[in-house]
């Protein structure tokens, strides 16, 4: 069982920038993608930039083919899909009720990027049994 409140996520600065740039370029729709890396260490090695199949400013849905490609890319490189990121175009970087309801995996990390203000704001969460816990984002391993 995943414990809440004692995790962190390491997202190197270049990958943080890649995620935020993708979210900005996806406007007016929500941007989304998958986090590739090592789930047990909370270490993100790369971000897979996915198409938002929902094509919406209020919803996102990772295109199935993108998931398949990301899964293969992760396997070839010896890591795994460890989470998902998406943007909130007009609200704060906090999981919406829909995000919580549809969160597929308690072991995943859920990264939110708010584009509500001029400067994007990124936060990360664990979601287990509908409970939300924010975790710190570190640019390198402590």
């Amino acid at each position: 069982m995943t414990e809440l409140g004692d995790s962190c996520i390491v997202i190197p600065a270049d990958i943080q920038n890649k995620i935020m740039a993708w979210c900005l370029s996806s406007l007016p729709d929500e941007g989304c993608g998958l986090l590739l890396g090592f789930s047990d260490k909370g270490f993100v090695v790369d971000a897979y930039l996915a198409q938002n199949a929902a094509k919406s400013a209020k919803l996102y849905s990772i295109d199935g083919k993108d998931y398949l490609r990301a899964d293969r890319q992760a396997e070839q490189n010896g890591y795994e899909i460890m989470g998902v990121f998406h943007s909130h175009t007009h609200t704060d970087p906090y999981p919406s009720p829909t995000d919580v309801e549809l969160a597929p995996d308690p072991n995943w990390h859920y990264v939110l990027v708010s584009l509500r203000h001029e400067v994007p704001v990124m936060r990360s969460y664990r979601i287990v049994d509908s409970q939300i816990a924010e975790e710190p984002i570190l640019p390198e391993e402590p």
Partner: protein
């Protein structure tokens, strides 16, 4: 024939930690039903009670979403790979 079924991380604990399981069947539905029969923890995670695909998963036969083929009646061939993927969405 035995078909390779790839499982997402979420479902691996129900299949003894395996990421790939070889399962018998001639159609996608037959393979998935046999998979669930072999690993009861997968029961209800891939197929619903009425035998249709669960809305929270996407199933691909090689590079194609089976919803756009013949769904669970899609025939599999020697060497085919079935990938079960979580549907990832939110708001």
């Amino acid at each position: 024939m035995a078909i390779e079924v790839r499982l997402p991380t979420l479902l691996r604990s129900a299949a003894e930690g395996q990421s790939v399981v070889k399962t018998e069947g001639d159609t996608v539905g037959e393979v998935l039903r046999n998979l669930a029969a072999g690993y009861p923890g997968l029961e209800g995670q891939i197929l619903t009670g009425d035998g249709s695909l669960h809305k929270f998963v996407n199933v691909y036969l090689d590079d194609d979403d089976v919803r756009y083929l013949d769904k669970l009646d899609t025939k599999v061939q020697e060497g085919s790979v079935i990938s079960i993927l979580p549907a990832v969405a939110g708001g």
